[in-house]
Protein backbone atom coordinates (compact mmCIF):
# COMPACT_ATOMS: atom_id res chain seq x y z
CA UNK A 1 0.00 0.00 0.00
CA UNK A 2 2.77 2.44 1.01
CA UNK A 3 4.81 1.45 -2.04
CA UNK A 4 1.80 1.99 -4.26
CA UNK A 5 1.32 5.43 -2.74
CA UNK A 6 4.93 6.45 -3.46
CA UNK A 7 4.64 5.14 -7.02
CA UNK A 8 1.50 7.15 -7.55
CA UNK A 9 3.13 10.27 -6.10
CA UNK A 10 6.09 9.87 -8.46
CA UNK A 11 3.83 9.31 -11.43
CA UNK A 12 1.80 12.35 -10.51
CA UNK A 13 4.91 14.49 -10.22
CA UNK A 14 6.27 13.30 -13.55
CA UNK A 15 2.94 13.98 -15.25
CA UNK A 16 2.83 17.45 -13.68
CA UNK A 17 6.15 18.33 -15.34
CA UNK A 18 5.05 16.93 -18.71
CA UNK A 19 1.82 18.96 -18.62
CA UNK A 20 3.42 22.18 -17.47
CA UNK A 21 6.37 22.27 -19.88
CA UNK A 22 4.45 23.04 -23.13
CA UNK A 23 2.60 25.96 -21.52
CA UNK A 24 5.83 27.28 -20.00
CA UNK A 25 7.61 27.03 -23.37
CA UNK A 26 4.84 29.02 -25.08
CA UNK A 27 4.86 31.69 -22.38
CA UNK A 28 8.67 31.97 -22.36
CA UNK A 29 8.60 32.17 -26.16
CA UNK A 30 6.09 35.02 -26.37
CA UNK A 31 6.90 36.94 -23.18
CA UNK A 32 10.34 36.01 -21.82
CA UNK A 33 12.38 36.03 -25.01
CA UNK A 34 10.85 39.22 -26.54
CA UNK A 35 11.22 40.97 -23.20
CA UNK A 36 14.97 40.18 -23.12
CA UNK A 37 15.22 41.49 -26.68
CA UNK A 38 13.43 44.69 -25.70
CA UNK A 39 15.93 45.28 -22.89
CA UNK A 40 18.86 44.72 -25.29
CA UNK A 41 17.39 47.01 -27.99
CA UNK A 42 16.78 49.74 -25.44
CA UNK A 43 20.57 50.26 -25.22
CA UNK A 44 21.00 50.32 -29.00
CA UNK A 45 20.54 52.73 -31.85
CA UNK A 46 18.27 50.43 -33.82
CA UNK A 47 16.12 51.49 -36.78
CA UNK A 48 13.59 49.04 -38.20
CA UNK A 49 14.19 50.21 -41.79
CA UNK A 50 16.37 47.17 -42.41
CA UNK A 51 19.25 49.36 -43.67
CA UNK A 52 20.90 51.09 -40.73
CA UNK A 53 23.05 48.66 -38.69
CA UNK A 54 22.33 48.56 -34.95
CA UNK A 55 24.95 50.04 -32.65
CA UNK A 56 25.36 50.19 -28.86
CA UNK A 57 24.58 53.66 -27.51
CA UNK A 58 24.34 53.11 -23.76
CA UNK A 59 21.66 55.18 -22.06
CA UNK A 60 21.05 57.56 -24.99
CA UNK A 61 17.55 56.24 -25.74
CA UNK A 62 16.53 56.57 -22.11
CA UNK A 63 17.89 60.13 -22.03
CA UNK A 64 15.96 60.95 -25.20
CA UNK A 65 12.66 59.71 -23.76
CA UNK A 66 13.14 61.21 -20.31
CA UNK A 67 13.98 64.65 -21.74
CA UNK A 68 11.16 64.61 -24.30
CA UNK A 69 8.34 66.97 -23.21
CA UNK A 70 5.88 64.87 -25.27
CA UNK A 71 6.72 61.84 -23.14
CA UNK A 72 5.99 63.73 -19.92
CA UNK A 73 2.79 65.04 -21.46
CA UNK A 74 1.89 61.40 -22.21
CA UNK A 75 2.69 60.39 -18.62
CA UNK A 76 0.50 63.24 -17.36
CA UNK A 77 -2.39 62.25 -19.65
CA UNK A 78 -2.11 58.59 -18.62
CA UNK A 79 -2.06 59.43 -14.91
CA UNK A 80 -5.00 61.84 -15.12
CA UNK A 81 -6.94 59.28 -17.13
CA UNK A 82 -6.09 56.43 -14.73
CA UNK A 83 -6.83 58.29 -11.49
CA UNK A 84 -10.15 59.68 -12.66
CA UNK A 85 -11.43 56.64 -14.53
CA UNK A 86 -10.50 54.12 -11.82
CA UNK A 87 -11.93 56.27 -9.02
CA UNK A 88 -15.22 56.94 -10.81
CA UNK A 89 -15.50 53.31 -11.92
CA UNK A 90 -14.99 52.06 -8.38
CA UNK A 91 -17.64 54.35 -6.90
CA UNK A 92 -20.16 53.75 -9.69
CA UNK A 93 -19.31 50.03 -9.77
CA UNK A 94 -20.09 49.80 -6.06
CA UNK A 95 -23.39 51.60 -6.61
CA UNK A 96 -24.38 49.39 -9.55
CA UNK A 97 -23.37 46.27 -7.63
CA UNK A 98 -25.52 47.26 -4.65
CA UNK A 99 -28.49 47.76 -6.97
CA UNK A 100 -27.83 44.49 -8.82
CA UNK A 101 -27.62 42.67 -5.48
CA UNK A 102 -31.03 43.91 -4.30
CA UNK A 103 -34.21 41.92 -4.87
CA UNK A 104 -36.40 43.55 -7.50
CA UNK A 105 -38.51 42.75 -10.52
CA UNK A 106 -36.41 42.64 -13.69
CA UNK A 107 -33.12 41.98 -11.92
CA UNK A 108 -31.97 39.45 -14.53
CA UNK A 109 -32.65 41.94 -17.32
CA UNK A 110 -30.76 44.57 -15.34
CA UNK A 111 -27.75 42.29 -14.88
CA UNK A 112 -27.63 41.48 -18.60
CA UNK A 113 -28.17 45.11 -19.66
CA UNK A 114 -25.25 46.42 -17.61
CA UNK A 115 -23.00 43.89 -19.38
CA UNK A 116 -23.71 45.44 -22.79
CA UNK A 117 -21.05 48.20 -22.63
CA UNK A 118 -18.46 45.69 -21.43
CA UNK A 119 -19.13 43.24 -24.29
CA UNK A 120 -18.67 45.87 -27.02
CA UNK A 121 -15.12 45.92 -28.46
CA UNK A 122 -13.21 48.99 -27.25
CA UNK A 123 -12.54 50.10 -30.83
CA UNK A 124 -16.28 50.02 -31.50
CA UNK A 125 -17.23 51.88 -28.32
CA UNK A 126 -14.62 54.51 -29.11
CA UNK A 127 -16.09 54.96 -32.61
CA UNK A 128 -19.63 55.15 -31.21
CA UNK A 129 -18.67 57.83 -28.68
CA UNK A 130 -16.61 59.68 -31.26
CA UNK A 131 -19.77 59.84 -33.38
CA UNK A 132 -21.89 60.89 -30.39
CA UNK A 133 -19.44 63.71 -29.67
CA UNK A 134 -19.05 64.72 -33.33
CA UNK A 135 -18.84 68.51 -33.26
CA UNK A 136 -21.52 69.21 -35.89
CA UNK A 137 -23.88 66.23 -36.05
CA UNK A 138 -23.22 64.40 -32.78
CA UNK A 139 -26.20 63.69 -30.54
CA UNK A 140 -24.53 65.32 -27.52
CA UNK A 141 -24.15 68.70 -29.18
CA UNK A 142 -27.60 68.46 -30.73
CA UNK A 143 -29.23 67.71 -27.38
CA UNK A 144 -27.29 70.36 -25.50
CA UNK A 145 -28.04 72.95 -28.20
CA UNK A 146 -31.75 72.04 -28.28
CA UNK A 147 -31.89 72.50 -24.52
CA UNK A 148 -30.03 75.82 -24.88
CA UNK A 149 -27.35 74.62 -22.49
CA UNK A 150 -24.50 75.64 -24.81
CA UNK A 151 -24.38 78.86 -26.86
CA UNK A 152 -22.65 77.14 -29.77
CA UNK A 153 -21.60 73.60 -30.62
CA UNK A 154 -18.46 72.41 -28.84
CA UNK A 155 -15.58 70.68 -30.65
CA UNK A 156 -15.18 68.21 -27.79
CA UNK A 157 -12.25 66.22 -29.14
CA UNK A 158 -10.27 69.20 -30.43
CA UNK A 159 -8.63 70.29 -27.18
CA UNK A 160 -7.18 68.19 -24.34
CA UNK A 161 -9.30 70.07 -21.77
CA UNK A 162 -12.55 68.69 -23.22
CA UNK A 163 -11.24 65.53 -24.90
CA UNK A 164 -9.80 64.01 -21.71
CA UNK A 165 -13.12 64.10 -19.80
CA UNK A 166 -14.90 62.58 -22.83
CA UNK A 167 -12.31 59.79 -23.03
CA UNK A 168 -12.64 59.16 -19.30
CA UNK A 169 -16.43 58.98 -19.76
CA UNK A 170 -16.02 56.34 -22.48
CA UNK A 171 -13.82 54.25 -20.21
CA UNK A 172 -16.20 54.67 -17.28
CA UNK A 173 -19.08 53.58 -19.50
CA UNK A 174 -17.18 50.56 -20.77
CA UNK A 175 -15.54 49.35 -17.57
CA UNK A 176 -17.97 50.11 -14.74
CA UNK A 177 -19.83 46.82 -15.50
CA UNK A 178 -16.60 44.88 -14.92
CA UNK A 179 -16.06 46.60 -11.57
CA UNK A 180 -19.71 46.07 -10.65
CA UNK A 181 -19.48 42.34 -11.44
CA UNK A 182 -16.38 41.83 -9.31
CA UNK A 183 -17.92 43.76 -6.42
CA UNK A 184 -21.25 41.95 -6.85
CA UNK A 185 -19.45 38.62 -6.54
CA UNK A 186 -17.93 39.90 -3.30
CA UNK A 187 -21.32 41.07 -2.03
CA UNK A 188 -22.83 37.66 -2.68
CA UNK A 189 -20.32 36.02 -0.33
CA UNK A 190 -21.64 38.04 2.64
CA UNK A 191 -23.65 35.64 4.82
CA UNK A 192 -27.19 36.94 5.32
CA UNK A 193 -27.15 36.25 9.07
CA UNK A 194 -24.56 39.01 9.40
CA UNK A 195 -27.16 41.51 8.23
CA UNK A 196 -29.72 39.99 10.59
CA UNK A 197 -27.30 40.38 13.48
CA UNK A 198 -26.67 43.97 12.41
CA UNK A 199 -30.39 44.67 12.25
CA UNK A 200 -30.90 43.29 15.76
CA UNK A 201 -28.15 45.62 16.99
CA UNK A 202 -30.16 48.43 15.43
CA UNK A 203 -27.83 49.30 12.55
CA UNK A 204 -29.41 51.56 9.91
CA UNK A 205 -28.84 51.30 6.15
CA UNK A 206 -25.88 53.67 6.04
CA UNK A 207 -24.28 52.17 9.16
CA UNK A 208 -24.76 48.64 7.80
CA UNK A 209 -22.99 49.69 4.62
CA UNK A 210 -19.95 51.27 6.26
CA UNK A 211 -19.51 48.84 9.15
CA UNK A 212 -20.63 45.55 7.60
CA UNK A 213 -20.70 45.59 3.81
CA UNK A 214 -17.67 47.70 3.02
CA UNK A 215 -15.17 45.92 5.32
CA UNK A 216 -16.39 42.58 4.03
CA UNK A 217 -15.86 43.37 0.35
CA UNK A 218 -12.63 45.34 0.92
CA UNK A 219 -10.33 42.50 -0.29
CA UNK A 220 -12.40 42.12 -3.48
CA UNK A 221 -12.39 45.86 -3.97
CA UNK A 222 -8.60 46.00 -3.64
CA UNK A 223 -8.05 43.22 -6.17
CA UNK A 224 -10.46 44.92 -8.57
CA UNK A 225 -8.57 48.20 -8.04
CA UNK A 226 -5.25 46.56 -8.89
CA UNK A 227 -6.57 45.02 -12.09
CA UNK A 228 -8.24 48.24 -13.17
CA UNK A 229 -5.28 50.51 -12.40
CA UNK A 230 -2.85 48.30 -14.32
CA UNK A 231 -5.33 48.19 -17.18
CA UNK A 232 -5.80 51.97 -17.16
CA UNK A 233 -2.05 52.66 -17.11
CA UNK A 234 -1.60 50.80 -20.39
CA UNK A 235 -4.58 52.47 -22.14
CA UNK A 236 -4.16 52.57 -25.91
CA UNK A 237 -7.30 51.86 -27.94
CA UNK A 238 -9.58 54.69 -26.78
CA UNK A 239 -6.94 57.41 -27.19
CA UNK A 240 -5.72 56.03 -30.51
CA UNK A 241 -9.23 56.02 -32.00
CA UNK A 242 -10.61 59.22 -30.52
CA UNK A 243 -7.65 61.59 -30.64
CA UNK A 244 -4.98 59.49 -32.43
CA UNK A 245 -1.95 61.27 -33.78
CA UNK A 246 -2.12 64.35 -31.54
CA UNK A 247 1.17 64.89 -29.71
CA UNK A 248 -0.48 66.59 -26.73
CA UNK A 249 -3.07 63.81 -26.40
CA UNK A 250 -0.72 60.82 -26.29
CA UNK A 251 -0.61 58.19 -23.55
CA UNK A 252 2.46 56.19 -22.53
CA UNK A 253 1.31 53.36 -24.81
CA UNK A 254 0.42 55.47 -27.86
CA UNK A 255 3.75 57.33 -27.48
CA UNK A 256 5.55 53.99 -27.45
CA UNK A 257 3.69 52.65 -30.48
CA UNK A 258 4.30 55.89 -32.38
CA UNK A 259 8.09 55.70 -31.78
CA UNK A 260 8.20 52.09 -32.90
CA UNK A 261 5.85 52.01 -35.88
CA UNK A 262 5.69 55.56 -37.27
CA UNK A 263 9.33 56.46 -36.60
CA UNK A 264 10.56 52.82 -36.92
CA UNK A 265 12.80 53.48 -33.94
CA UNK A 266 13.18 50.20 -32.04
CA UNK A 267 15.81 51.74 -29.76
CA UNK A 268 13.69 54.59 -28.41
CA UNK A 269 10.54 52.40 -28.59
CA UNK A 270 12.20 49.70 -26.49
CA UNK A 271 13.55 52.19 -23.94
CA UNK A 272 9.99 53.54 -23.60
CA UNK A 273 8.72 49.98 -23.07
CA UNK A 274 11.23 49.35 -20.30
CA UNK A 275 10.28 52.63 -18.59
CA UNK A 276 6.55 51.72 -18.80
CA UNK A 277 7.24 48.25 -17.44
CA UNK A 278 9.23 49.63 -14.47
CA UNK A 279 6.46 52.16 -13.87
CA UNK A 280 3.79 49.44 -13.80
CA UNK A 281 5.92 47.10 -11.66
CA UNK A 282 6.26 49.96 -9.17
CA UNK A 283 2.45 50.06 -8.89
CA UNK A 284 2.22 46.28 -8.56
CA UNK A 285 4.70 46.30 -5.67
CA UNK A 286 2.88 49.12 -3.87
CA UNK A 287 -0.49 47.47 -4.34
CA UNK A 288 0.61 44.00 -3.27
CA UNK A 289 2.17 45.59 -0.16
CA UNK A 290 -1.18 47.12 0.70
CA UNK A 291 -3.25 44.04 -0.01
CA UNK A 292 -1.04 41.15 1.15
CA UNK A 293 -3.95 39.43 2.86
CA UNK A 294 -6.19 39.34 -0.16
CA UNK A 295 -3.40 38.23 -2.46
CA UNK A 296 -2.30 35.02 -0.72
Amino acid sequence: MARGGIDLYDRQRRLAWILIVPAVLIVVGVIGYPLLQVIVYSFMEYKLDGVTPATFVGLNNYLFVLTDPEWWRAVYNTLVFSVFSVTIETVLGLLVALVANAQFKGRTFFRIAILVPWAIPTVVSSQIWKWMFNDVYGVVNVLLANLNLIPEKVAWLATPETALPVIIAVDVWKTTPFMALLILAGLQTIPSDMYEAGAIDGATGVKTFFYLTLPFIMPTLLVALIFRTLDALRVFDIFYIMVGGRGDMATMSTYNQLQLIDFLDAGVGSATSVIILLFIMFFVVIYTRFSKTSFQ
Binding site: G106, I114, V123, R234, F236
Partner: protein, 280 residues
Protein backbone atom coordinates in the same frame (compact mmCIF):
# COMPACT_ATOMS: atom_id res chain seq x y z
CA UNK B 1 -42.60 55.66 8.16
CA UNK B 2 -41.76 52.29 6.72
CA UNK B 3 -44.07 49.95 4.86
CA UNK B 4 -44.22 46.18 5.13
CA UNK B 5 -40.89 45.53 3.37
CA UNK B 6 -39.20 47.82 5.83
CA UNK B 7 -38.39 50.27 3.04
CA UNK B 8 -39.83 53.75 2.83
CA UNK B 9 -41.60 55.03 -0.27
CA UNK B 10 -38.80 57.57 -0.75
CA UNK B 11 -36.23 54.80 -0.66
CA UNK B 12 -38.23 52.81 -3.24
CA UNK B 13 -38.53 55.81 -5.54
CA UNK B 14 -34.83 56.57 -5.24
CA UNK B 15 -33.96 52.96 -5.91
CA UNK B 16 -36.01 52.81 -9.12
CA UNK B 17 -34.60 56.15 -10.20
CA UNK B 18 -31.11 54.63 -9.97
CA UNK B 19 -32.19 51.49 -11.83
CA UNK B 20 -33.56 53.53 -14.72
CA UNK B 21 -30.58 55.90 -14.72
CA UNK B 22 -28.10 53.01 -14.88
CA UNK B 23 -30.08 51.31 -17.65
CA UNK B 24 -30.27 54.49 -19.75
CA UNK B 25 -26.56 55.18 -19.28
CA UNK B 26 -25.67 51.57 -20.15
CA UNK B 27 -27.90 51.16 -23.16
CA UNK B 28 -28.21 54.62 -24.74
CA UNK B 29 -24.88 54.72 -26.66
CA UNK B 30 -25.48 51.25 -28.05
CA UNK B 31 -29.08 52.00 -29.07
CA UNK B 32 -28.03 55.32 -30.58
CA UNK B 33 -25.39 53.54 -32.66
CA UNK B 34 -27.95 50.92 -33.68
CA UNK B 35 -30.34 53.67 -34.80
CA UNK B 36 -27.54 55.47 -36.67
CA UNK B 37 -26.75 52.26 -38.56
CA UNK B 38 -30.34 52.23 -39.96
CA UNK B 39 -30.46 55.97 -40.70
CA UNK B 40 -30.39 56.84 -44.45
CA UNK B 41 -27.22 58.64 -45.59
CA UNK B 42 -29.09 61.81 -46.49
CA UNK B 43 -30.56 61.97 -43.00
CA UNK B 44 -27.40 61.02 -41.11
CA UNK B 45 -26.43 64.63 -40.75
CA UNK B 46 -29.87 65.91 -39.92
CA UNK B 47 -30.28 66.97 -36.35
CA UNK B 48 -33.62 65.15 -35.94
CA UNK B 49 -33.24 62.51 -33.24
CA UNK B 50 -35.51 59.96 -34.92
CA UNK B 51 -35.04 59.35 -38.69
CA UNK B 52 -38.06 59.63 -41.03
CA UNK B 53 -37.25 56.31 -42.71
CA UNK B 54 -35.05 53.35 -41.85
CA UNK B 55 -32.70 51.68 -44.33
CA UNK B 56 -30.43 48.66 -44.73
CA UNK B 57 -28.12 50.54 -47.13
CA UNK B 58 -25.20 50.69 -44.67
CA UNK B 59 -25.40 46.96 -43.96
CA UNK B 60 -25.48 46.20 -47.69
CA UNK B 61 -22.50 48.52 -48.20
CA UNK B 62 -20.56 46.92 -45.37
CA UNK B 63 -21.09 43.36 -46.63
CA UNK B 64 -20.21 44.45 -50.16
CA UNK B 65 -16.90 45.77 -48.82
CA UNK B 66 -14.26 43.04 -49.37
CA UNK B 67 -11.94 44.57 -46.74
CA UNK B 68 -14.56 44.22 -44.05
CA UNK B 69 -15.67 40.70 -45.04
CA UNK B 70 -12.03 39.55 -45.16
CA UNK B 71 -11.41 41.08 -41.72
CA UNK B 72 -14.38 39.14 -40.31
CA UNK B 73 -12.87 35.90 -41.65
CA UNK B 74 -9.45 36.84 -40.23
CA UNK B 75 -10.86 37.68 -36.82
CA UNK B 76 -12.78 34.40 -36.62
CA UNK B 77 -9.69 32.38 -37.59
CA UNK B 78 -7.32 34.27 -35.28
CA UNK B 79 -9.58 34.45 -32.21
CA UNK B 80 -10.86 30.88 -32.70
CA UNK B 81 -7.40 29.31 -33.06
CA UNK B 82 -6.00 31.34 -30.16
CA UNK B 83 -8.74 30.11 -27.85
CA UNK B 84 -8.56 26.46 -28.94
CA UNK B 85 -4.79 26.20 -28.52
CA UNK B 86 -4.78 28.14 -25.26
CA UNK B 87 -7.56 25.94 -23.86
CA UNK B 88 -5.73 22.69 -24.71
CA UNK B 89 -2.31 23.63 -23.29
CA UNK B 90 -3.74 25.89 -20.60
CA UNK B 91 -6.09 23.22 -19.21
CA UNK B 92 -3.33 20.59 -19.11
CA UNK B 93 -1.10 23.01 -17.24
CA UNK B 94 -3.98 24.03 -14.96
CA UNK B 95 -4.67 20.38 -14.07
CA UNK B 96 -1.04 20.01 -12.99
CA UNK B 97 -1.11 23.26 -11.01
CA UNK B 98 -4.51 22.65 -9.44
CA UNK B 99 -4.40 18.92 -8.78
CA UNK B 100 -0.93 17.38 -8.92
CA UNK B 101 1.98 17.66 -6.48
CA UNK B 102 4.51 20.12 -7.84
CA UNK B 103 7.44 21.71 -6.05
CA UNK B 104 7.25 25.29 -7.31
CA UNK B 105 3.47 25.54 -7.29
CA UNK B 106 3.18 28.76 -5.26
CA UNK B 107 5.84 30.52 -7.31
CA UNK B 108 4.32 29.29 -10.58
CA UNK B 109 0.85 30.55 -9.65
CA UNK B 110 2.17 33.92 -8.53
CA UNK B 111 4.13 34.28 -11.78
CA UNK B 112 1.02 33.45 -13.82
CA UNK B 113 -1.04 35.98 -11.88
CA UNK B 114 1.58 38.64 -12.59
CA UNK B 115 1.57 37.66 -16.26
CA UNK B 116 -2.18 38.21 -16.54
CA UNK B 117 -1.42 41.85 -15.72
CA UNK B 118 1.58 42.07 -18.05
CA UNK B 119 1.44 45.17 -20.28
CA UNK B 120 1.48 44.06 -23.92
CA UNK B 121 3.18 47.26 -25.00
CA UNK B 122 6.33 46.22 -23.09
CA UNK B 123 7.23 43.51 -25.62
CA UNK B 124 6.03 45.28 -28.76
CA UNK B 125 9.45 45.85 -30.37
CA UNK B 126 10.72 42.42 -29.30
CA UNK B 127 7.71 40.70 -30.89
CA UNK B 128 7.98 42.90 -33.99
CA UNK B 129 11.57 41.76 -34.65
CA UNK B 130 10.78 38.16 -33.62
CA UNK B 131 7.86 37.93 -36.08
CA UNK B 132 10.01 39.46 -38.86
CA UNK B 133 12.80 36.96 -38.15
CA UNK B 134 10.42 33.99 -38.12
CA UNK B 135 8.76 35.22 -41.34
CA UNK B 136 5.46 35.48 -39.45
CA UNK B 137 5.04 39.27 -39.69
CA UNK B 138 1.72 40.20 -41.32
CA UNK B 139 0.37 36.62 -41.08
CA UNK B 140 -2.49 35.09 -39.12
CA UNK B 141 -0.26 32.49 -37.38
CA UNK B 142 2.01 35.34 -36.27
CA UNK B 143 -0.91 37.16 -34.72
CA UNK B 144 -2.15 33.97 -33.02
CA UNK B 145 1.33 33.45 -31.56
CA UNK B 146 1.39 36.93 -30.04
CA UNK B 147 -2.13 36.51 -28.62
CA UNK B 148 -0.86 33.74 -26.34
CA UNK B 149 0.62 36.58 -24.25
CA UNK B 150 -2.74 37.28 -22.71
CA UNK B 151 -4.77 34.16 -23.49
CA UNK B 152 -2.36 31.59 -21.98
CA UNK B 153 -1.84 33.13 -18.53
CA UNK B 154 -5.55 33.95 -18.32
CA UNK B 155 -6.63 30.42 -19.28
CA UNK B 156 -4.15 28.78 -16.91
CA UNK B 157 -5.15 31.03 -14.03
CA UNK B 158 -8.92 30.62 -14.34
CA UNK B 159 -8.79 26.89 -15.14
CA UNK B 160 -6.50 26.27 -12.15
CA UNK B 161 -9.17 27.82 -9.94
CA UNK B 162 -11.75 25.46 -11.48
CA UNK B 163 -9.63 22.36 -10.98
CA UNK B 164 -8.97 23.39 -7.38
CA UNK B 165 -12.68 23.77 -6.67
CA UNK B 166 -13.53 20.16 -7.60
CA UNK B 167 -14.07 17.74 -4.69
CA UNK B 168 -11.11 15.48 -3.87
CA UNK B 169 -13.21 12.34 -3.23
CA UNK B 170 -13.82 11.80 -6.94
CA UNK B 171 -10.21 11.30 -7.95
CA UNK B 172 -9.36 9.40 -4.75
CA UNK B 173 -12.00 6.82 -5.63
CA UNK B 174 -10.54 6.53 -9.13
CA UNK B 175 -6.99 6.14 -7.79
CA UNK B 176 -8.15 3.37 -5.43
CA UNK B 177 -9.52 1.60 -8.50
CA UNK B 178 -6.00 1.80 -9.96
CA UNK B 179 -6.50 4.58 -12.50
CA UNK B 180 -3.40 6.47 -13.73
CA UNK B 181 -3.11 10.24 -13.11
CA UNK B 182 -3.69 10.90 -16.82
CA UNK B 183 -6.83 8.70 -16.82
CA UNK B 184 -8.10 10.58 -13.78
CA UNK B 185 -7.66 13.83 -15.68
CA UNK B 186 -9.20 12.54 -18.88
CA UNK B 187 -12.11 10.50 -17.52
CA UNK B 188 -12.96 12.00 -14.14
CA UNK B 189 -11.97 15.66 -13.95
CA UNK B 190 -12.11 16.89 -17.55
CA UNK B 191 -15.86 16.24 -18.00
CA UNK B 192 -16.49 18.22 -14.80
CA UNK B 193 -14.53 21.25 -16.04
CA UNK B 194 -16.51 21.64 -19.28
CA UNK B 195 -18.58 24.55 -17.85
CA UNK B 196 -15.33 26.20 -16.74
CA UNK B 197 -13.85 25.71 -20.18
CA UNK B 198 -16.88 27.31 -21.80
CA UNK B 199 -16.65 30.47 -19.71
CA UNK B 200 -12.86 30.66 -19.95
CA UNK B 201 -13.01 30.07 -23.69
CA UNK B 202 -15.68 32.72 -24.18
CA UNK B 203 -13.74 35.31 -22.24
CA UNK B 204 -10.51 34.48 -24.05
CA UNK B 205 -12.39 34.68 -27.35
CA UNK B 206 -13.81 38.10 -26.52
CA UNK B 207 -10.31 39.25 -25.53
CA UNK B 208 -8.77 38.04 -28.79
CA UNK B 209 -11.69 39.30 -30.91
CA UNK B 210 -11.36 42.81 -29.42
CA UNK B 211 -7.55 43.00 -29.40
CA UNK B 212 -6.29 46.09 -31.21
CA UNK B 213 -2.67 47.02 -30.40
CA UNK B 214 -1.00 43.86 -31.75
CA UNK B 215 -3.34 43.57 -34.74
CA UNK B 216 -2.64 47.20 -35.65
CA UNK B 217 1.13 46.78 -35.26
CA UNK B 218 1.73 43.32 -36.72
CA UNK B 219 -0.52 43.38 -39.80
CA UNK B 220 -0.12 45.81 -42.70
CA UNK B 221 -2.06 44.48 -45.70
CA UNK B 222 -5.86 44.38 -46.00
CA UNK B 223 -5.98 40.59 -46.40
CA UNK B 224 -4.52 40.07 -42.89
CA UNK B 225 -6.19 42.82 -40.85
CA UNK B 226 -8.71 41.94 -38.16
CA UNK B 227 -12.07 43.57 -37.51
CA UNK B 228 -11.01 46.21 -34.95
CA UNK B 229 -8.21 47.45 -37.24
CA UNK B 230 -10.51 47.72 -40.26
CA UNK B 231 -13.20 49.50 -38.24
CA UNK B 232 -10.60 51.95 -36.96
CA UNK B 233 -9.49 52.70 -40.53
CA UNK B 234 -12.85 53.07 -42.29
CA UNK B 235 -12.61 56.11 -44.55
CA UNK B 236 -15.08 57.82 -46.82
CA UNK B 237 -14.75 59.42 -50.20
CA UNK B 238 -12.39 62.04 -48.85
CA UNK B 239 -10.08 61.71 -45.85
CA UNK B 240 -12.05 64.39 -44.01
CA UNK B 241 -15.38 62.71 -44.35
CA UNK B 242 -15.93 59.68 -42.16
CA UNK B 243 -18.65 57.28 -43.35
CA UNK B 244 -20.48 57.15 -40.02
CA UNK B 245 -23.37 55.04 -41.34
CA UNK B 246 -21.01 52.27 -42.48
CA UNK B 247 -18.89 52.52 -39.34
CA UNK B 248 -21.98 52.07 -37.17
CA UNK B 249 -23.31 49.20 -39.31
CA UNK B 250 -19.92 47.42 -39.18
CA UNK B 251 -19.80 48.05 -35.44
CA UNK B 252 -23.19 46.41 -35.00
CA UNK B 253 -22.17 43.41 -37.13
CA UNK B 254 -19.18 42.66 -34.88
CA UNK B 255 -20.94 43.53 -31.63
CA UNK B 256 -24.33 41.84 -31.83
CA UNK B 257 -22.97 38.24 -31.97
CA UNK B 258 -20.92 39.03 -28.84
CA UNK B 259 -23.98 40.45 -27.11
CA UNK B 260 -26.00 37.32 -27.93
CA UNK B 261 -23.21 35.16 -26.51
CA UNK B 262 -23.10 37.29 -23.38
CA UNK B 263 -26.87 37.05 -22.90
CA UNK B 264 -26.88 33.27 -23.28
CA UNK B 265 -23.87 32.67 -21.08
CA UNK B 266 -24.31 35.54 -18.63
CA UNK B 267 -23.92 33.35 -15.56
CA UNK B 268 -20.93 31.44 -16.94
CA UNK B 269 -19.16 34.63 -18.02
CA UNK B 270 -19.64 36.25 -14.66
CA UNK B 271 -18.33 33.10 -12.98
CA UNK B 272 -15.23 33.13 -15.18
CA UNK B 273 -14.61 36.85 -14.73
CA UNK B 274 -14.73 36.65 -10.99
CA UNK B 275 -12.80 33.38 -10.59
CA UNK B 276 -9.61 34.11 -8.75
CA UNK B 277 -10.45 37.75 -8.21
CA UNK B 278 -12.74 36.91 -5.32
CA UNK B 279 -11.84 34.67 -2.45
CA UNK B 280 -14.82 33.90 -0.27
Amino acid sequence: MKNQDGKSIVFQAGFWFFVVLILVFSLFPFLYALLSSFRPSNELFSTELWPKTLTFEHYLAVFANPRFVQSLVNSIIVAGSTVLIALVFGSLCAYALGRLPFRFKGLALYTILLMTMFPQIAVLSGLFVMLKTLGLFNTRPGLILTYFIFSMPFTIWVMTQYFRSLPKELEEAAYVDGASPLAVFWQVLLPLTVPGMISTGLLAFIGAWNEFLFALTFTVTDDMKTVPVVISQFTGVSAYEQPWGSIMAASMVVTIPLLILVMFFQRRIVAGLTAGAVKG
